[in-house]
Assembly symmetry: C2
Homo-oligomer: 334 residues x 2
């Protein structure tokens, strides 16, 4: 049974597999396979036995296979059949790996990827994420729900050749999310304003880091970007909760997301990337006026370079191209 | 001129190159070369024009080439000829890339690596690190000095074929260091004890995660290890400052370091790794009783797996082998 372990010094949770069966071996080789799966072998092309949720993809035929399907992710580190008990061993805190880990099969079609989807299809996908989050947070042991997507082997994708994403409900709040919350809260305490709202205002005025904009969203490269071509998509209207968005707002998001992913694919040669929805953790919704100070957003992290040791060991990232230049480049990609 | 940019939300500093000359291009290819350099082409085999510091390697001949040599790192993001001025643009804080970046040529011999060095040679190398830190911190604009080593292309090494490490003085405190300091300070406030001292006590009693031990040091896999085979070396006696160690303590450290690096090389098939000395930042030495709550240590981070998107986007690391198993495995390597 996997478990969550808390670093006793900085408080970061780490998921640790505890099956001693897996021995240190040729780990590098086993993770380095980057071959895209064939349609014949693809489990996600086939009909799924247990569908948790499904949604029709608009403007498609009425066959059952023209749906976005959500299934339970079989290989997950998080299991639903455990109790969320906290254990302490001296300094150390452990939570058993309880959680809900769902796999979203974004399309019935093999080898069709997110930027190829129509805006209506992408809107439906965002609706599916929101619906699953709303269901998962009903479990009182869930503290946070993470929606993310890995594309390409370098980004940690399993390269099945089938476009998938994940919705994961977990019993703790990830460190990176906590950092953002705590920083935004500090800013709010001093300024009585949302730091993200202030940032959006400054960025739209400066223009240099803005890539795309529509009525409800802005896509930009962050001022202190950790990664080359890191992009954030932020709703212009303040909201801490991704699931609060109306259908027209979701459609605007789908449109900006599609354009952006197309630019990344065309401009950067179809790189691996990660996509994460950063929304307020359910476990803190009622606390400390989180509604006032947190602002949900999406991070898109292309994986163009290996993270060097310097960054890894120190948390000190080196970005070898200024975000202004990457924004300018992406603006120019048709 | 590179600059340091502070993330306005979480306060993390990022080094950003600002030369617009470097255009987005075939970035992946240019960083992916993993070929070890030939002796004929190796700049570090040749006599160095400007040596900042040198130290004789014990039990070697008296030729000038039997020395550890320290030179200024030419390709550094940090430059000595800039003023440390802080600028604000609205929300954003920038510090010009002032800093001291030194390259330690660990040995005159090409293709001889750290685990091959004698204990006396390694002790001399640790002495060099301490001497350079002591010199660099005399500059009042330096807030922190980082000593690290990248071995292998996956760890960000330039693969010159010549064993080198870096000593970098910087005008800000890296985020990962700040996290450790703040966590240790919180613990001290509550418990009036050093969290690292408590951890060492618990680990030595439990034995399961201890790999090696000698009079002054313990090497262990941390309870909430982020990476497979992550190892920390900690001094048993409380001290916040790496440079405070006596010669006999440095020799003990050299001995444990040599054994550990040999185990990593033999047991894991000569993997890429990063090595970082985590010592108290000079900019905070006088503050908040840092001497009481911080405990210097070394982190060794083998790079056996690609960091997947889940980790990258969320700060939520997944470790697929429990640290108890990796410790047991490394204990067993002769």
């Amino acid at each position: 049974m996997p478990e969550l372990r808390k670093d006793p010094i900085i408080g970061r949770w780490v998921i640790v597999a505890t099956e001693r069966a897996r021995r240190p071996g040729n780990i590098v080789e086993s993770l380095d396979q980057g071959i895209r799966g064939k349609k014949e072998d693809c489990a996600y092309c086939q009909e799924q036995k247990t569908i948790l949720f499904s949604k029709k993809i608009p403007s498609r035929g009425k066959t059952p296979s023209s749906e976005i399907r959500v299934i339970s992710y079989a290989k997950s580190f998080f299991k639903t059949d455990v109790n969320v008990q906290r254990h302490f061993h001296g300094l150390y805190e452990i939570v058993k790996g309880f959680g809900m880990d769902e796999l979203v099969i974004e399309t019935p079609e093999h080898m069709t990827y997110t930027p190829d989807f129509s805006v209506d299809h992408l809107t439906a996908l965002l609706n599916v994420y929101a619906a699953r989050i709303k269901t998962i947070v009903k479990n009182p042991d869930i503290q946070h729900v993470l929606v993310y997507k890995n594309y390409g082997a370098l980004a940690g994708s399993q390269m099945t050749g089938h476009s998938c994403s994940r919705v994961v409900g977990m019993p703790v709040i990830p460190f990176h999310v906590k950092e953002k919350l705590s920083g935004a809260q500090d800013y709010f305490k001093k300024q009585r304003r949302c730091v993200y709202c202030d940032m959006i205002k400054q960025e739209i005025a400066a223009k240099t880091r803005v890539i795309l904009e529509n009525k409800n969203f802005v896509a930009l490269t962050p001022f202190a970007a950790r990664f080359l071509f890191e992009v954030w998509i932020l709703p212009k209207k303040h909201s801490c909760d991704f699931t609060d968005s109306s259908q027209s707002v979701q459609k605007d998001l789908a449109a900006i997301l599609k354009s952006l992913l197309q630019k990344v694919r065309e401009g950067l040669g179809d790189p691996a990337y990660n996509f994460v929805i950063q929304t307020a953790p359910i476990g803190m919704r009622e606390e400390n006026n989180i509604k006032n100070y947190y602002h949900w957003h999406i991070e898109i992290l292309p994986r163009l370079t290996r993270v060097a040791g310097f960054e890894k060991g120190t948390g000190f990232y080196i970005n070898s191209i200024p975000p202004e230049a990457t924004a300018e480049f992406l603006r120019g990609v048709p």
